[in-house]
Symmetry: C2
Subunit: 276 residues, 2 copies
Amino acid sequence: MSTPRPVFFVSDSTGITAETVGHSLLSHFEDEAFDETILSFIDTETKASNAIDKIARAGKKTGMRPIVIETIINPAVRTIIQQSEAHVVDIISTFLNPLEEFLGRPANIRIGRPEISADHGRYQRRIDAMQFALENDDGRRLEHYGQADIILVGISRSGKTPTSIFLALQANVYAANYPLTDDDFDRPVLPKALEPYREKLFGLTIEPKRLNQIRDGRKANSGYASLRKCEDEVRMAEALFRKYGIPFIDTTRLSIEEISTRIIVDKRLREKISTV
Amino acid sequence: MSTPRPVFFVSDSTGITAETVGHSLLSHFEDEAFDETILSFIDTETKASNAIDKIARAGKKTGMRPIVIETIINPAVRTIIQQSEAHVVDIISTFLNPLEEFLGRPANIRIGRPEISADHGRYQRRIDAMQFALENDDGRRLEHYGQADIILVGISRSGKTPTSIFLALQANVYAANYPLTDDDFDRPVLPKALEPYREKLFGLTIEPKRLNQIRDGRKANSGYASLRKCEDEVRMAEALFRKYGIPFIDTTRLSIEEISTRIIVDKRLREKISTV
């Protein structure tokens, strides 16, 4: 196994964007091995100098030129990072000059973080949506279904809770959820509590084998986790979705981000997020 | 007020990365008005053609050339999007050629999503971490503190719950939390339940005025929400943090992403995420 090449995601904020874009770029070189480090909050010239020293040391140690993927806003800080001997990928400023030309005006570089206070309202809605997801987890408060933008329906461990929370974080969506249990399968009819909210329902399903693994991780060798039980529940849940025309999605091979975005697009939960 | 210029974030996946990078770019032009649309799952040539039609219509309607910010992987799909009359910002492929030259090998373009099964372990840890945050919310299960990577300590509405959940999502961190209540302020000593875990504690605080607004949004005009009560609680919490040398952060002007990253960096919770 060859030495992995050092990669640094460098940001004057969290580094989350640099890491995400960086992973997307590096995933095109699957035969290369990379050793990744995120350097967050590199927001002064001193920190930038320390960062390039660190990057240089990694280069020396491995005998390989490092890669730096950065999203730094402050020009003085960015200039120092660009003096690094690494191969520097500059996610933001690469596109700023062409945008300045296109818009016919100079970019104004705001150093430091924007005043968040103006943004408190929007931010608070995100927190409120998250709180709503938590308080309405697992059908605990059926009386709040009226306030929900969407009600996720599915059997235990099909992904309802993480999806509700991510819907809140991503797009301020108020998501409640309703767990299908054995009681609901006695007769293949829509649970009474859901009747008034047919338009808000969205089903989650999952491959029985995968469900079996997940449940086994929580209650090993239980009846609840058995493949037989998983197969029965999945079949009954999907039959219910089909009978009542409830749209549903198989979560087995999707990330939370993808599940959440597909639901937003399918149910047109946010005007600005769509497909064609 | 001038007509906002249409902006499209276009992706063959969720569009979350295109939107994040796009916002970062557009925030440099604060005097311009933009009308933003996310086009997710543009993963076929047909969808790409429909997308550029939609973009062209927006251009015609407003009389302004739109901006397209895209992260499309599939070259055939990307080529179509690039034929749009818009100003196209191509986040991924702009950097691929230089990276190919640097690494001395061609990028292999994987069309379609990677097999997630190999990734199930890592993915499951993320879900497990999220589940841990939910089950350990608000000090419900003190007996699980041993398993926690970190225990967030703070008064009601200081941001403990959203931060715990985001720590899980971002970096698989197992975060529990402990709510400081009036009982804990009777005597200014560390709550007994926290004694064995001094090293894992991290405090959250918030400006009393902002706390007052948030609490008022939940229980208007209550004693709980009063500015006086907020001031008292914040003062006592911060005194406790200082007395016991518990590191803490003021969440008032920070996003969840920033709070989470600062905690990871300060407490060295993840080897790969640091500052210098």
